[in-house]
Amino acid sequence: MRRHGPGPDAPRPRRTVVPALLVFWLVIPLTPLLMWATATRWSGVARLPQDFGLHGWQEALDAGVIAALVRSGLLGVAVALIATPLGVMAGRALGWRLLHRSALPSLVLLGPVVLAPFAVAMGLDVVILRLGVPGEIAVVLVLSVFALPYTTFTMRATYLGLDPALEEQARVLGATPGRARRRVTLPAASTGLVTATGLAFLVGWSDYVVTLLIGGGQIVTAPMLIGASAAGSGNDALTSTLAISVSLPPMLALGAFTYAVARRRRAAHS
């Protein structure tokens, strides 16, 4: 490594400018949503809305946003219920190196990252039409496949950081294998478990193209409403309120989770 003499560590403007530019980059695309969601009139080239109000929210309620959000939530829960347990099992095998050859299963489980959801949905749509499988089941299955890489590799990383000896000790002390897993390992893996569940939920919650292709417009989730509004209506206040309604719940859940983890860490340290 080349050595440099210790120079004067004067504050340089770049240290403030770069973070400020990054904050601008991250915030600016969301700004019009927040402004339109509180505007009732914003015509022409006016820099700010002429009238503020919650008109857009009333329209979103009329468009059935509550039912659509519930449907999105159910889809997220269904995907998490399939992809999380399967991911926990696979993550345990990969993280604790319980397989002779783990390269092939790892490759298969990473595979969905490379595949385009629209291509998989399109292919499955052809098959379910012939087999008469309900669209809802196909949507959940496809999205679970796309959630599996997230749950598996989150849990693999979690198990890598856990000592298998802990579970063995519980068994030596008389716990059954199932009880040792449930009472010892899973609580120790809880942060990873919540992260994996959250990621799987988000795959179902925010999906658009799989529901659109397989559901054929019959399964009206919240992203369907946003897509319809953004593509054709020209009603920017409605689009913005719908977009905020979809984005806010995961953010609040993430905030609550981060707060809970920080509190637990503080409690553990004190």
Binding site: L26, M35, M251
Partner: protein, 295 residues
């Protein structure tokens, strides 16, 4: 990592065999689900593209699905590659900048990391709707800059896919940043201290410590962003121009065409998109692995 200690080789081998059997049982359900769903779906897409799974009529092996729209396929492939390559480049550079600010623990670190996580949770569809409201000729930037709508550049739906690229780069820069932070963060603090003690200037610390440490994560995250951008539908659908449309938009357009004869063409488009993504993975994975092995 093994938790079997001070046992005889025979017992150890027996334990390993039992473990491997248990391990196989643990991965089997996930592997089976992925293989059955993606195998069935991709098999059906390939069969449809070759005329073997027509919606109506008799199956007949033919490559018409590919040849009839060959010109459009070429244009769509170019558009998709252009979008994916540019978005990946922007996402990688900006993602690395975000990771640098966060890992160096300098000014503004906390707000940058909070915003990065917030952006990651926002769905692409929301990002696309928001980008449209920001960059269109009656969008927020046009209103704020005061440039007349007639002189405003065609960022949304114009000749060059600016809005699509910027939305993908925006969302994915947060993904790249978080992957790099998670992977390099642990070692960087220690190594940076050593580098500082040895007299390395901040710039040298970045080039000689942070960059090599981040390289494997940066490479794999960039590959994921590239294949994601190749396969994403909603962003280009909302922000792109009508022609040439990228592969996913073209596939959906043909798939929903009133003429069911367009189905093989839609499937052919999906086959090309899947082939491109797989090819990029095959080309880039060894590179990512080599960067990781060098560490």
């Amino acid at each position: 990592m093994t938790h079997v200690q001070s046992t005889s080789p025979e017992t150890r081998d027996g334990r390993r065999a039992t473990e491997a059997l248990g391990g196989a049982r643990l991965v089997a359900p996930a592997v089976l689900l992925v293989l059955v769903v993606t195998g069935t779906a991709l098999g059906a897409v390939v069969a449809t593209s070759l005329g073997l799974l027509p919606l109506v009529g008799q199956p007949r092996l033919s490559v018409d699905g590919f040849t009839v729209v060959a010109g459009d396929l070429r244009a769509a492939t170019q558009e998709s590659l252009l979008i994916a390559a540019t978005a990946t480049l922007f996402a990688a550079v900006i993602g690395l900048a975000i990771a640098t600010v966060v890992l160096r623990a300098g000014r503004g670190r906390r707000i940058v990391i909070v915003l990065t996580v917030v952006v990651l949770t926002v769905p692409h569809l929301v990002g696309a709707a928001a980008t449209g409201l920001l960059l269109s000729d009656v969008g927020l930037l046009q209103r704020w800059t005061g440039i007349p709508a007639t002189s405003w550049p065609e960022l949304v739906g114009g000749r060059w896919p600016w809005a699509t690229v910027l939305e993908l780069a925006w969302k994915e820069s947060s993904f790249v940043a978080l992957v790099v932070i998670a992977s390099a963060g642990r070692h960087y603090a220690d190594l940076r201290e050593v580098a500082a003690v040895l007299g390395a200037a901040p710039r040298a610390q970045w080039r000689r410590v942070l960059l090599p440490l981040s390289a494997p994560a940066l490479a794999s995250a960039s590959l994921i962003v590239f294949v994601y951008s190749l396969g994403t539908y909603e962003v280009a659908r909302l922000l792109g121009r009508a022609y040439p449309d990228p592969l996913p938009v073209m596939a959906y357009r043909l798939f929903t065409d009133i003429d069911v004869a367009a189905r093989p063409q839609a499937a052919a488009t999906a086959v090309v998109a899947t082939g491109l993504a797989l090819l990029s993975a095959v080309i880039c994975l060894p590179l990512a692995r080599r960067l990781g092995a060098d560490r």
